[in-house]
Structures are given as C-alpha cells and as structure tokens.
Amino acid sequence: MSFLIEEYFSILLLLLVSVGLACIILGASYFLGIQNPDTEKLSVYECGFDPYEDSRNKFDVRFYLIAILFIVFDLEAMFLFPWAVSLAHISSMGFWTMVDFLLELVIGFVYIWRIGALEWE
C-alpha cells in the first residue's frame, strides 16, 4: 500500500483539488451571481446553429473546417507550453525538434492559406 501512496499521492491530491476547485467555481457562480434567465440564455450554445433542429438539415461545412483548423493550432499551443517550461532539461535536441515541428506546421498553414480554407466567402 505504501508504494501506491508514494507513487499516486500527488495524483490523488490533484484530483481532489481539481474537483474541489470545479465545485467552488460552479457553486459560487450559481449562488452568488445575479440570474435573469430567458430562453436565449438557457439554450445550449452551439455556434451558428439552432441546437434542436432536424439532424438531416443541410449545414455549412465551413464551421467544421474552422473547428478542425482551430484544433490543430490549439494543440500546437498545448505542445509549446510544456516545451517552454522544460526547455532547460531537454538539451539542443529538444529545441530543434520543436523548431522542426513548427516549420512543418507552418508549411501546413501555408497550404491551407493558399487553397483558401481560411476565407469565409
């Protein structure tokens, strides 16, 4: 049992803190905030759509294109943060690996720019 505690105690701590923090934030905004509910506010947020319509309607594929591209570049930021924090430990190899990754991502970006995936009209 001591081994489990030793190895996983920090994870348990993280779990407790994150659950507690989530409860505090949600609870505080629920109890302390001023609430004037109306239909628009209570409806589910989904960008550009009525959330409860027929699923066989035609939709604009450009929303999904933007969402997919957003995910790619969001993940890039997600890679950059831990890389920046641990840069001191990962030597020059780690640095140049990230530079290579960014270079290839930029090529992808140039590609989507050129074929007009970023233009709405």
Binding site: I90, S91, I107, Y111, R114
Partner: protein, 522 residues
C-alpha cells in the same frame, strides 16, 4: 493490488533497464552520422512531401498561371520521389542498428520490407496514372497523402517501441481513410471512407488498450525492454500473466482488424468497392506485408513466451477467413468485391503460416506475401484494362470479363495465368507458395486447420476458374468499342507475369530473401 505486487517484483530489473536507457538520452552529441544514414530514405521522403505540398499549393492556386490542373505532374513527381527513396533504401550499408532511444530498429527485415513497399507503391502509382482522368481525381492532395501513407508504412515496419508503432499506424491509416474517401462527389466513396475510419479507429482503440495494459504491467513501452522482461520465464505471478495475456489478445484482435481477417473483415469489401480504384489497389497490395512484418516481430520475437494465447486466436481467425473468403466470394457479382473476398481468403492462408510459429512457417508467409503482391498487381492492372465505352464509368462485374480472350488474346492469357496463380495451380509461383505454407503448417502439427484449409482451397479455386471460363468461353451479349490498353498497365502486367513464371522455375532468389528476412525474427 496486482499492479502493486508486479511493480515490487519488476522494479529491481526496471532500474537496470532505465540505467541502460539513460545512456541513450536524446542529445545531439549522441546522434551519430549512422543514425541519419539509417533514416536517409525516410528523411528524404519527408522532405519531398513537404516540398511537394508547398510547390503544389502555390502552382495550383496561382491566378497568373490560370489555376492549372497539376495532378498529372504531381503524380510524376511522386513517382520520382518514390524511386529516389527506393534507391536510397537500396544503397543502405547498415546491417543492424537501433536508434532514437531504441524507438526504431533497422535490420534486414525492415530494409527488405521497405524496398518491397516502395517498389509496390511505385507500381501502384504507375498503373493508376492513365486512369486519373477517368477517375476525375484532380486534387493534388491525393498523391501527397499517398506518399504520407508510404512514409507511415516505412516508419511502421522499423518501429521498435509501442509509441512509435501506434503513431506510425495512425499516420498510415489516417492517410488511407482520406484516400478511400477522396472521390468527393460519390456517396459510395464517402461511405467507404466513413466505414474505414470508424472501424479503423475502433481497432486502434483496441490496440491502445492492449498497449496501456502492457505498460501498466511492465512500466515500459520498448520492445527491447519487453524482450528482456519476458525472455526468462520467471514472471510467475498468475494475475500479471493473465493481464499480459489479455493485453496480447487485444493487440492481436487489432492486428486482425487491420489485415481484414475473418471475424473482423466486414469493412474490407465495402471499402474496396467504394474507394476510387487507385486507392483500392494501394489498400489491396501494400499495407499487408508491413503489418505482418511488425506483428511477426511482436509475437514471434518479443512475446514468444506467450505463444499459446495468441496462437489459438490466429488459428481460429485463419480458418474463419478461409471459410468466409471461399464461400461468400461464390455469390459476388462485382469484381472488386470478389477480389476483396479473395484477399480475405489469402489472409487465412497467411495466418495459418503465422500460427505454425516456426522458421519455415514465417519464411513461407513472406514468400506467399511477396508472390501475392506480385499476383495482385497483375490482377488489378488487368482489372484496369477492361474498359470499353459502355462500362467505363460503371463498376466492373463478371460480365465485363466475357470475350476478353477474343478481343485481346494476350490480355486473356495474362488473366488466365494470374488467376491460376491466385488459385495455386502448379506451373506458377502461387502453387509453390501455397505448398510451402501447408508443409510448414503440417510440420507444426496443425493437422485439422491445414486439412480444412486444403479442402476449402478447392472451393476458392472454383471461383477463380469460373473467372477464367468467363474470359475464354463466354461471349458478351452486346459489343462496344474497347478502349485500348495503355502502356503502363501492360508494362506492369508483363513484368508481374514474368515474375510469376520465373519464381516457380527458380524460386531460390526469393527463398534466400525470405530466409534472410525470417532470420531477423528468431
């Protein structure tokens, strides 16, 4: 609690392993010229993919040039890039090496499989070139994705770590999903892509689950460490062993999904039929040898002490594949579906050789795979040459084969030879390959499975012979203008036909090659 016991048990050994690994920590000072030499084909292919992407996206969207259609020139550039990569892989001087923190291995097996897939995809690109206009593939991304799939396959065969294995499987399969859905205006193609995507990601999830169980049991993802841990039979803890067995079961099911073996074959006929023909040829010919090579390394080399867990699964799946491939194919009218079921049938024989789990079995497997690749390239290029003005846009059925022997006797003869070789009729390489598989299965005492497979191969040869009968003895009800054979298809057909006959008369070249590949696994 199982994990706890296990980690206490394994910890002293893992310390040693980690100490050993720390020496190879990622650093430029520890990267030698050999590491780059070993990866030269992959580095070249990656660079050419990036350059081609930039080149194509600037040319194709240029208003000054009038938005030209560049799919043909990109296809030629891809052929050039692949042949240069093949030359780089061919001129490699390294015999054995692991690199990048043991995540990639380089030996004779990976070298040869790389050369084979590069040659195979070269032929795929060559025979699909004249059909681009007919298929209306005008987007240049198609070819770049195909190159990415080849890159993924090359990384997959040399991966020596669960993480690099998973990432390269994902790289190649994501490209293949898009390739199968690349005919945007056809709902069949979209359906094929979606089906392939959903079932492929399901099998990837199974693979990941198995990998995570293994990681939970051992604390490592490296093949070398697995080999060190499991090479002694001292892991006696029943809970741990059962957990490892379950994870191996998950991994083998994911593998059977990927190669479309029988209980997990449902996606393959639909994907074959719906995808554009050049993608279908790529799926049918190229990925199998890579998947077999990497999973043979995993099961026969790394986890060879757990053979009784997955051998049963492999034998069951082999028999099921042979049964499904022989009986269901009898009812197929469309040629693509027929060939899909025929490939399921062949996967059954391959799994029989896999399950015999011996040197001879593995050699027979590689022999069969190479012969199968040659034969299917020949069959698919015949398939591409069946066009008349009437059936050009439709999917080909058995009727399209009728009176081929009258209209073009050489094409009819080639079709006969290729189909006889698929069926395993004596004066051809297919017979020799099948015989080797049955001999290895019998020497591994797999009597019942080989008996069933031999009996069912009679049924499967029935539908090949029915195709030959259609080619030679049936006459089309209505005649139409035949679109003449193009040079690339006839070149491929001629080359493959030569090899089919040559490897029966003189199989020693192929036997030597497969023997050297096999010796890397034992």
């Amino acid at each position: 609690m199982d994990f706890l016991l296990l980690s206490n048990y394994l910890l002293p050994r893992l310390d040693l392993i980690e100490l050993f690994n720390l020496n190879q920590f990622m650093d430029f000072s520890l990267l030698y010229a050999n590491n780059f030499k070993m990866f030269l084909p992959e580095i070249f292919l990656t660079t050419s993919i990036l350059i081609l992407t930039l080149h194509a996206s600037f040319i194709a969207t240029s208003r000054f040039l009038g938005y030209p259609l560049i799919s043909k020139s990109i296809n030629s550039l891809c052929i050039l890039a692949l042949s240069l990569t093949f030359l780089l892989a061919y001129n490699n001087s390294i015999v054995f090496m692991t690199t990048y923190q043991n995540t990639f291995i380089f030996d004779f097996l990976t070298l040869n499989v790389k050369q084979i897939i590069l040659l195979g995809s070269l032929f795929c690109l060559i025979i699909s070139e004249p059909n681009l206009i007919r298929q209306k593939i005008n987007n240049f991304e198609y070819f770049i994705l195909l190159l990415c799939a080849v890159l993924g396959l090359m990384l997959l065969v040399s991966s020596y770590d669960m993480i690099s294995l998973y990432l390269s499987i994902e790289l190649q399969s994501l490209c293949l999903y898009v390739l199968s859905a690349s005919k945007k205006d056809s709902s069949f193609s979209t359906e094929a892509g979606l089906k392939y995507f959903i079932l492929g990601s399901f099998s990837s999830a199974l693979l990941l689950f198995g990998i995570s169980l293994l990681y939970g049991c051992t604390g490592t993802t490296n093949f070398d460490n697995f080999y060190l841990i499991f090479s002694e039979t001292s892991v006696n803890d029943i809970a741990v062993v059962s957990l490892i067995k379950k994870s191996l079961l998950c991994i083998s099911v994911a593998f059977l999904f990927k190669i479309a073996a029988a209980p997990f074959h449902m996606w393959s006929p639909d994907v074959y039929e719906g995808s554009p023909i050049s993608s279908t040829i790529f799926f049918a010919v190229i990925p199998k040898i890579v998947l077999f090579a990497i999973f043979l390394r995993l099961f026969q080399n790394i986890f060879s002490n757990f053979e009784e867990t997955f051998l049963f699964v492999l034998i069951f799946s082999s028999i099921a594949s042979v049964i499904v491939g022989s009986f269901v194919a009898l009812k197929q009218k469309k040629l693509k579906r027929l060939l899909a079921y025929s490939s399921i049938n062949h996967v059954g024989y391959l799994l029989l050789a896999f399950a015999s789990n011996s040197l001879e079995g593995t050699q027979a497997l590689f022999f069969y795979l190479i012969v199968y690749m040659i034969t299917s390239l020949c069959v698919w290029s015949i398939f591409l040459s069946l066009n008349t003005l009437l059936n050009e846009q439709k999917s080909k059925t058995l009727v399209d084969l009728a009176s081929v022997a009258i209209l073009n006797p050489v094409l009819g003869f080639t079709a006969m030879v290729a189909l006889f070789s698929l069926a395993g009729v004596p004066p051809l390489a297919g017979f020799f390959a099948k015989m080797e598989i049955f001999i290895s299965a019998l020497s591994a005492s797999l009597f019942w499975p080989s008996l069933i497979a031999i009996l069912l191969s009679v049924i499967s040869s029935y539908y090949y012979i029915r195709l030959i009968k259609t080619v030679y003895f049936e006459v089309k009800p209505e005649f139409s203008y035949v679109i003449p054979l193009n040079r690339s298809c006839s070149f491929t057909m001629g080359t493959m036909l030569f090899f089919l006959v040559y490897f029966f008369l003189n199989p020693s070249l192929l036997l030597l090659l497969t023997q050297k590949m096999t010796l890397c696994l034992f």
